[in-house]
């Protein structure tokens, strides 16, 4: 699902454009680790903020950081990414909550999580608390 590119006026008065792309889990489910990371970085390099349904596995996240750093080294004006995952609070799950979560996980992966990834040039900071994410946009 793509959202239309729009222009926003930032606090310092400068205009900046950004585009938000929502990726359903089904779009990345069958991709290899290389292809998932490549897909994400391709979108980020085209200045898109991604909201991914679900979450990356730990080894995919670290690969994303690794490949991002390689890109920072090679792509002019690319400074990296901001990344955050939000998950429902499951610190003390009941038996039924655990059962439902495991069932959903086996069917569609971590689909009740959301991952936000954006280029550091647009996403200044993602403040993450256990239950909420605040995405701060700005001109760097």
């Amino acid at each position: 699902m793509k959202m239309k590119k729009r222009e926003v006026r930032s606090f310092n008065g400068k205009l900046s454009g950004f585009s938000l792309q929502i990726i359903p889990f089904s779009e990345v489910r069958d991709l290899s680790i290389n292809d998932r990371v490549r897909k994400i970085l391709k979108l980020v390099l085209s200045n898109k903020i991604i909201i991914l349904q679900g979450k990356l596995r730990a080894e995919e996240e670290i690969r994303l950081i690794e490949d991002t750093m390689a890109m920072v080294d090679h792509v002019k004006n690319f400074r990296g990414i901001e990344l955050a995952v939000i998950e429902p609070d499951m610190s003390n799950p009941t038996f039924m909550q655990k059962f439902k979560r495991n069932l959903a996980k086996s069917l569609v992966g971590h689909s009740n999580s959301l991952t936000v990834i954006g280029p550091a040039a647009i996403v200044k900071e993602i403040k993450r608390d256990p239950s909420k994410i605040e995405v701060m946009l700005g001109n760097n």
Binding site: E59, E61, E66, M69, E82, A120, I126, R128
Partner: protein, 212 residues
């Protein structure tokens, strides 16, 4: 995935034959959390010399640094290990951030380039660790994705973890928040700068070594 499976099998087979004095303990964490400051305290206490330089400018450590055969003695027990101090892991590097610290543009760009390579090197070393001390700045939000990614990768590789909440001497320090963020792990609050709570850290380090 293959890398993780290889690491787990290496750990199982290696564990059967490994001598306890060949342990590799890594110091990981975000930039400017105090990894090298803590590593310096340990190295100075037990080898007489420091492992690396420290600075207020982020990404001071841009290459993995080693200290072979660090022998720590605590309450009649001895722990010998190879210390690996790693560059801080981050998702972004902007040379302009270094300009704010008075670094000139040319050096800031060089520092940024070296920092990106240092992060890649830190990540590559993850597979080789027997145990990891994650050093966090207790004045910062512990829920940052970098912290969670580091912990998640160590769990996936079945590498034991100790979390150090550094800078406890500062007014903004929130050790409880770090504990709440990582309830399944031992968290020890210290001040590497002032040398506070280091005995408790050594106690936790020995507990960590037992989990290997």
């Amino acid at each position: 995935m293959i890398r993780i499976l290889k690491n787990i099998s290496k750990r199982i087979l290696g564990g059967l034959f490994k001598k306890r004095d060949n342990l590799k303990i890594g110091f990981y964490g975000p930039p400017n959390a105090g990894k090298t400051s803590l590593a310096n305290i340990i190295c100075k206490d037990w080898t007489g010399e420091e492992i690396g330089s420290v600075s207020d400018i982020p990404h001071e450590t841009r290459k993995v640094q080693f200290k072979e055969k660090v022998e720590v003695k605590h309450k009649g027990k001895v722990l010998t290990f190879k210390m690996i101090d790693t560059p801080g892991i981050a998702t972004k590097i902007d040379y302009e951030d270094f300009l704010k610290f008075g670094v000139n543009k040319k050096d800031a760009k060089k520092r940024a380039k070296e920092a990106t390579q240092g992060i890649i090197e830190s990540i590559k070393w993850l597979d080789d660790m027997d145990a990891v001390v994650i050093v966090l700045d207790s004045t910062q939000n512990p829920y940052s994705q970098v912290n969670i990614t580091i912990v998640g990768n160590l769990v996936a590789r079945k590498i034991p973890v100790l979390i150090v909440a550094n800078k406890m001497d500062l007014r903004k320090a929130e050790i409880k928040k770090v504990e709440a963020a990582f309830p399944e792990y031992d968290v020890v609050g210290i001040s590497a700068k002032k040398g506070e709570n280091i005995e408790e850290f050594y106690e936790s380090l020995f507990k960590l070594a037992k989990k290997i």
